[in-house]
């Protein structure tokens, strides 16, 4: 097996059998290696991590010696078995028949889905006839990201910037809603149907921002809306939009 300076190489496949506990090692460039726990424990560092049990995912720098090569790399250790024991999964099915398997906790970001699960009606799959696969995958992406962020302990901030109102995901959210009008429209409807407050607020605010600095006629043109005021209403609108100088 060839080794590169950034990947962890593991040997001794014979030791593997169906019953041994496995761990997954992830290199800095994102490659995952599932290995026997006993093999991984050749590394004292990994051994201590596993014995302490303090990992779901950890990043560390290791110097790994194997029979093939030694390399210095940073790896992420995760306990796949622990994951499998604790995370329940649900399957969501879009209107066009695509299935998405997600962690139950992520799916429950949607109050609608939460109620379905709690009512015990989620047997195999939860069908979502109002949401297409394209939109559903985006919604899942949003829920995953926000669930992750909620679960993380305090992100490292200096005392100078810790301010209870700053949302650490603001930048990610801003990029998330940089989509065409069709997608935005569908996201709003999906967020409303699935009852995901954060996503609904975000998409509504995005629509409101599209109106900034435009004349009412320009707003109508942006949103393809017709001016349907009666002459009386038109006069009222004009009055509301008027400055008479003293």
């Amino acid at each position: 097996m060839a080794s590169s300076s950034t990947s962890v190489v593991v040997s001794n496949k014979e030791k593997e059998n169906k019953n041994t506990k496995k761990v997954t090692l992830k290199s800095s460039d994102g490659e995952s290696f599932e290995v026997d726990e006993s093999v991984a424990m050749e590394s004292q560092t990994i051994k201590h991590i596993i014995e302490d049990g303090h990992y779901s995912s950890l990043a560390l720098s290791l110097s790994v010696k194997t029979t093939m090569a030694s390399s210095s790399t940073s790896v992420v250790v995760s306990n796949k078995e622990k994951e499998n024991k604790n995370t329940k999964k649900v399957t969501l099915k879009s209107s066009d028949g695509e299935s998405f398997e997600v962690d139950e906790s992520v799916a429950m970001e949607s109050q609608t889905i939460k109620h379905i699960i709690e009512d015990g009606c989620a047997n195999n799959e939860i069908p979502l006839p109002n949401v297409t696969s394209g939109i559903l995958s985006r919604v899942i992406e949003y829920c995953k990201k926000h669930k992750e962020a909620a679960g993380e302990s305090e992100p490292s901030v200096t005392s100078y910037t810790s301010n209870s109102t700053t949302n650490p995901l603001t930048e990610w959210d801003t990029e998330f809603v940089k989509v065409d009008q069709n997608t935005l429209f569908d996201l709003i409807l999906a967020a409303n149907y699935l009852d995901i407050k954060g996503l609904l607020d975000l998409t509504c605010k995005t629509v409101a921002d599209m109106m900034k600095g435009k004349t009412p006629q320009e707003i109508r043109e942006t949103f393809h809306i017709k001016n349907d005021y009666t002459p009386e209403e038109e006069a009222e609108v004009r009055k509301e939009n008027q400055w008479a100088f003293e």
């Binding site: 200096t158 910037t161 429209f185 600095g213 009412p216 809306i225 005021y229 509301e240 939009n241 100088f245």
Partner: protein
Amino acid sequence: MGEREVDWSALPMELLPLIGKTVQARINVVRFRSVCTSWRSSIPPLRGISPPLLLPFPYPINSAGGQSFLSQSTIYRLEPPDDNPNLSTCSSKSWLVKVEEFEPGRVRLLNPLSSLHIRFLPDSFPKVINLLGFRVVEVGKAYKLQHSNGMDIAGVNKLVLFPNSAWTSCVEDKLIFGLFHEGKLGYVKYGDENWTFVDDHNFYCDDITVYKGQPYVVDRLGTVSWIDSSMKLIQFSPPLCGLGNQKHLVESCGELYVVDRSFDRERRFDHGLRRYRLCPKTVNIEVYKLDQEWGCWVMVKNLGDQVFFLGKDSSFSVSATEFSGCKGNCVYFTDENDIGVFYFENQKTGKIVDFQDRCHLFWPPPSWLSSKSSSKC
């Protein structure tokens, strides 16, 4: 996936109020209500601050007591839509204007820096402006405390309303922060009998502003703090240790800047009073930005296309490119009702009347304002 045109009128009616409520600026709420009947009926009309908000008299100012009124004025940038016939011939494509809406639909035109009422309008200036024909962007808000006869109350340096969104028209939500003579910081909730003062003898507050939904203050040393819900001051930055006499907080492009202003302390002959008196004039301006990663101040030598305004009751910034023909990288300020401008490129200050060739963002008003716009509302 084809490019189908989105039919926004198919949006469920229950979502319209949700969208409307996320709108922060008053003008945008009015715009929202001006689009079509379903949008109009989805959110109620805003009540203004008129009649002006009744507040107790700030105690250290005048023990004669009585009531004071909070009046609000707003700074806007007006821009005609692209089809305005006079646009190409005009020197500026935007107009910076400050108005006080003392009654619905009736406004006083104010000087954006000195906040004085501009009473004498040129003949070409329209008596009524129909805003439906213009793009309007809210740039900032300013507040004043007045006697019942409309006179400003002396000794009040700055006021901010918190929270400062258009929806704070429910009086119960309103909290007003005030900076008074000698840098005292106080606050009052609508309905309180008295102002409460943040009593810290070492604390001299130079400026206050609401930034990203939180009230921030800067003290004489240039330390920026924010005020939490229990009215405690939480330090946000180290002291600036600038050499100036007065610090200001200005928001520009989403970031918070501290402007450090130096005065000379010369006595000048006042022709009106016919004697010498202390008239501080601004001689130097420095701008600092907080490097949030390292927690230290960095001097900003060039503002790019940004123009900062240090007004009497509000500070704000605009982009010079939106006012075509104007140069950025400068700071407008006011010294006792005189207006000056400081240019960073040559580090010079000057009175506004000296720089005739420079574009004035707010006066005289551009010609497209009074033209009969062809666009229908």
